[in-house]
């Protein structure tokens, strides 16, 4: 059994560490490129959402490298993600690939299936080992997210432009050479120190922009055209709302304090949307309010074309803007998204935020009589 999995931001670090430790062969899909997207677009239903198409591209490229089993997480609706596994399996079957797709649905649909699936993947490892490795893998997720958070802060302030991204690039090159959770964790920690040591410019106060929206488009840099990097290069400090670590903490761990905090933020959206409609639409609204209250300069919502829950959020967000006054822009990405138009919009938005800030500064100055 050689396992592969779809890409989603930093997932590959944790997944590789986990499967390495359990002694299972793993193929990391080649990094998402235009070719991946082209394969996926050609083979997937036309109206399917972008993540499904990229997943298919990932599978095909991994299968070419020798994978025969796909690991995928699942859900039980109403978002389309819950039926990804079934549709993808049918697509691969019609293409003649005899691939096993193991879907990890949330255990509330039946613990027995869930346990059987873990056993199927983990083979002869004892439950204690499995639990221990899971724990270590979740550390990787945590540390990798912290690494990215440092990068977000540093990019907007770095004295030598491009230094942060140069380090991140060599990190990605280096980490793939290591095996097992321990080695991977060490590499991440090493680079955290390096990133922390990057020299900052004096007295800059970068614009602050929060990112909300659909989780896959937020986390996977290829899909959002590396928006965090682009904004950072424009001198903007980026605040992330949904991260992998956050997801793991809410769905897989028993961290009650964190859950309470999550609930507290969700409650803020009560006047606009007070129930889960699938996907992360509820979180999108709640985090937009949260960011507005944090006095960020602007908010950007990202979603794949046709994403059902985020469309609802999109139509509610103008009301949040009316009430809180923080500009919100929606970016829709799909396989047709062109870089130039996308960046023009980003730059225009950042320009707008800058002017807004200057105006409010002037207003403050004239009010204080100076």
């Amino acid at each position: 059994m050689t396992i592969t999995f779809p890409h989603m931001g930093q997932v590959y670090l944790a997944a590789k560490g986990l499967l390495d430790d359990l002694g299972i062969d793993v193929v990391i899909p080649p990094p998402i490129t235009k070719k991946t997207l082209e394969i996926g677009t050609r083979l997937s239903p036309e109206m399917a959402c972008l993540p499904l198409k990229i997943n298919i591209g990932n599978y095909i490229e991994s299968i070419e490298k020798g994978a025969d089993t796909v690991l995928l997480s699942g859900s039980c609706g109403p978002c389309r993600f819950g039926y990804y596994g079934v549709v993808q399996k049918e697509i691969l079957k019609d293409l003649g690939y005899d691939i096993d797709i193991i879907i990890f649905d949330p255990p509330d649909t039946g613990y027995r299936d869930f346990i059987q699936r873990i056993k199927k993947v983990a083979g002869n490892n004892s439950w204690v080992d499995i639990a221990r490795t899971f724990r270590k893998a979740s550390y990787i997720v945590e540390e990798a997210d912290e690494l990215l958070e440092i990068a977000l802060k540093k990019r907007a302030r770095e004295a030598n432009r491009g230094e942060t991204d140069a380090h991140l690039y060599s990190f990605e090159r280096e980490v793939l050479k290591h095996h097992g959770t321990k080695a991977i964790l060490n590499v991440i920690k090493k680079y955290k120190i390096i990133l922390n040591g990057i020299k900052e410019k004096n007295d800059v106060s970068p614009l602050k922009v929060g990112l909300v929206g659909e989780i896959y488009t937020l986390i996977e840099p290829y899909v959002n055209l590396n928006i965090e990097k682009k904004l950072g290069q424009l001198g903007v400090e980026v605040y992330r709302s949904l991260t992998l670590h956050e997801w793991v903490k809410i769905h897989l761990s028993l961290d009650i304090k964190h859950r309470m905090n999550h609930k507290r933020i969700l409650k803020k959206s009560a006047p606009y949307l007070n129930l889960c409609i699938g996907g992360h639409a509820w979180q999108t609204i709640a985090n937009s309010i949260h960011f507005s209250e944090m006095n960020l300069d602007g908010i950007i919502q990202i979603m794949p074309f046709g994403c059902m829950p985020e469309i609802v959020a999109e139509s509610i967000l103008p009301r949040v803007y009316e009430d809180y006054g923080v500009p919100i822009m929606t970016l829709v990405v799909d396989e047709m998204t062109g870089e130039a138009g996308y960046f023009t919009r980003l730059e225009a938005f950042v320009d707008l935020l800058e002017q807004r800030r200057n105006q409010t500064d002037e207003k403050k100055r004239s009010l204080s009589g100076r």
Binding site: P45, E46, M47, A48, C49, G74, C76, G77, P78, C79, R80, G82, Y83, G85, V86, V87, K89, E90, I91, D94, I103, D105, Y272, L273, L275, I277, G278, G279, A281, F305, G306, C307, M308, P309, I311, V312, A313, E314, S315, I316, P318, R319, V332
Partner: protein, 332 residues
């Protein structure tokens, strides 16, 4: 007080239930007009660009009711069967309407949520009835009568009528010389909205074909084929469309299958894909997918429909009539 019911989305499924419920409570109901260019334009102008056509139409129909009704009824159909959903947009519909349309009159939101228990859905009706009249017993009584009417409606549907024939006329004339049966698979708010569906039912009937729609298929049969799926389908309408399509194919009930879908429909993109793939593998019945959106024109639509019917007729005439020598059909 006049209660306005938008003629969009689940209107074609639940109209008898809603109408009789409010009338039993002693309220007058008014339905928005048939979809027209004006309603469509109003909907498109007042809704986010990324929403699908049916949701935009719902916005248009609510706009149409603004000066006709004192209160607008907006159902929040979270779930109509335990463990299932309909579509995320249906759940957020009241919020979308409230955010997008200014100058709304009173809004009656029905929280139809049977996700845990079908009784919760009925409770929502009782709550609304109680809010309107102040009497629980009256609400319960009205619901009971309304449900009886709804059941009657569903029974007639199972006998082969389409909701269009029952709720309004215009489904085309009776056919004397039936050439065959075409299965029409699509959401009720597309199939029975004559503006959006380009009167597809009437057109097919005028060509001499009877239509079979998902509402005609027994729920038990749908459940049976859907149980064979590798994973439980959690969309009620996804299940209905995929299930009824499979039942039609498996029992040789139709000569051809037409999928009608709206552009960017999230559920159709998966369901129709699966149905298409299963059909290709096992049944190989002629099928076509017609996607409609706010820009669809009659000419292109008719051409595709006629081409599909021609294909079915040619297949009937020439398929299997090949000689063993391999000479071509036309004798050349």
């Amino acid at each position: 007080m006049k209660i306005g019911i938008p003629k969009a989305l689940m209107y074609y499924t639940y109209y008898p239930l809603w109408k009789h419920f409010f009338e039993q409570l002693g309220y007058e109901t008014v339905v928005s007009g048939n979809t027209s260019k004006i309603i469509l334009n109003n909907g498109v102008m007042n809704c986010v660009d990324d929403a699908c056509l049916p949701v935009k139409l719902f916005h248009g129909h609510v706009m149409d009711l603004l000066d006709k009704a004192d209160a607008v009824f907006i159902p929040r159909l979270t779930s109509i069967n335990p463990g299932e959903f309909i579509c995320p947009k249906f759940i957020g519909l009241p919020e979308m309407i409230k955010s997008s349309i200014k100058g709304l009159p009173d809004v009656l939101v029905l929280d139809h949520n049977a996700h845990r228990n079908i009784k919760n859905a009925y409770k929502a009706f009782v709550d609304i009835g109680k809010k309107l009249t102040g009497s629980t017993s009256m609400a319960v009584q009205s619901l009971k009568l309304a449900r009886m009417n709804q059941k009657k409606y569903e029974t007639i549907l199972k006998q082969g009528e389409t909701p269009l024939d029952i709720l309004e006329t215009g489904g085309g004339h009776e056919i004397n010389n039936v050439k065959g049966i075409i299965g029409l698979v699509g959401h009720p708010y597309l199939l029975y909205d004559q503006y959006v569906s380009m009167r597809i039912i009437a057109k097919l009937r005028n060509m001499g074909y009877r239509v079979m729609v998902p509402e005609n298929i027994e729920n038990t049969l749908i459940q049976e084929v859907c149980n064979r799926l590798p994973k439980k389908l959690f969309w009620s309408y996804g299940k209905k469309l995929l299930g009824s399509g499979l039942v039609m194919l498996e029992n040789n009930m139709v000569d051809g299958l037409i999928f009608l879908s709206s552009f960017a429909c999230g559920i159709d993109s998966f369901i129709l894909e699966l149905l298409h793939r299963y059909n290709q593998r096992r049944y190989r019945v002629p099928c076509t997918l017609i996607t409609v959106d706010e820009h669809t024109g009659h000419a292109g639509f008719n051409t595709r429909l006629e081409a599909f019917i021609d294909m079915i007729e040619w297949r009937k005439a020439y398929d299997n009539n090949l000689s063993t020598y391999g000479t071509s059909v036309s004798g050349g």
